[in-house]
């Protein structure tokens, strides 16, 4: 009876280790880790920009920025005609802007407004001293003097004597104002 051959420790280990069964349960996870190391994906903002909807939103915002700037700049140049925001120079500035945009139609209006401005400036100082009844009569007389024969109202034709007196007074007052 032949004895079975003895195994040296080296061959025992070699044979057993070659027969070792290896599980592949972690194969996919290991490959993903290696793939990430070899082909790194961008992270952070760059990773977000790869998404199509983020890209679209970003492009929309970039396209709208110039329009937004244009809109805001136009808003600051808008005419402020609010009474609460009135300042001594604001009406003049607004009128100047209007002159620039529509020069043909507004020249007469500007002159009339300027005349109204000058009259308005003079009026407050003198009106304080005169009674209001006489002021009103003077106004109507001034109107009759500036536009003679254009229209004949009952107010202007009926009290003729009073008008003469008033006109005299108005003339003297008018001259005084001048």
């Amino acid at each position: 009876m032949t004895k079975p051959p003895l195994h040296n420790i080296d061959s025992l280990f070699q044979q057993k280790l070659e027969e070792l069964s290896v599980g592949i349960s972690q194969q996919q996870a290991q490959w993903m880790a290696l793939s990430q190391a070899m082909h790194p994906q961008p992270t952070g903002i760059r990773d977000q920009l790869r998404k199509p909807w983020v890209k679209g939103l970003y492009m929309t915002i970039v396209a709208l920025v110039p329009f937004g700037i244009f809109y805001l700049s136009n808003q600051s140049q808008a005419i402020e005609s609010n009474a609460s925001t009135y300042t001594p120079g604001s009406v003049t500035n607004s009128l100047k802007l209007l002159n620039k945009t529509e020069p043909s139609t507004q020249t007469n209006e500007v002159r009339m407004n300027q005349q109204a401005l000058t009259k308005q400036e003079i009026k407050p100082a003198s009106q304080a001293a005169m009674p209001t009844a006489i002021l009103n009569e003077n106004k109507s007389a001034a109107v009759a003097n500036t536009q003679p024969g254009k229209h004949k109202d009952s107010a202007s034709t009926a009290p003729a004597k009073q008008e003469k007196q008033i006109t005299k007074k108005a003339d003297s007052a008018y001259i005084y104002w001048q």
């Binding site: 003895l6 420790i9 080296d10 061959s11 070792l20 290696l34 190391a37």
Partner: protein
Amino acid sequence: MSEETLIKGCIEKNKRCQETLYKQYYADMLRVCLRYAKSQEEALDILNRGFLKVFTHIAAYRQSGALGAWIRRIMVNAAIDFYREKSALEKIVPLIVTEDDLQQVFIQPEIYARFSSDDILLLLQSLPTNYRLVFSLYAVEGYSYGEIANVMEIKEATCRWYLMEARKLLQQRMKQLLLLTPQTHNYDQAAAS
């Protein structure tokens, strides 16, 4: 996919070819890495480091030998580099080792049959790092003393000493394991045959 197409795709850094090559050699290379590693986790780490080197240097592969053998050599080097980086390769001054000291240790068949592959792996992983590396390179891979000395950057005498000590330790631990564990079913079958 043929091997040539696979290699060409890997040189061009084709992800699909790389994945195919990885999965094709995964099991064999993990088996190789387990001989050198102390644990499953370390073996997986060494495996991926090795494959990273494979894909980086695939263009340098000359088709003189088998691709598997080339990858295996890279895995072994990756394992040694792994422990060198961890400063686990201790440099010690060995005692003088004679040829008698390096005599083979023989095991009876009945004892041989009692150890499964997992047991052998556990015994190997219980060795100190240097002993394990030298023993695996010599006994399992078939490297010569000179080749091992060159790869591990140690002297041949040191290499012989590590091998001697590794065999002694393995024998001791196998005896301890036999004393501690009862007779297994495998042993009964082997004894009956």
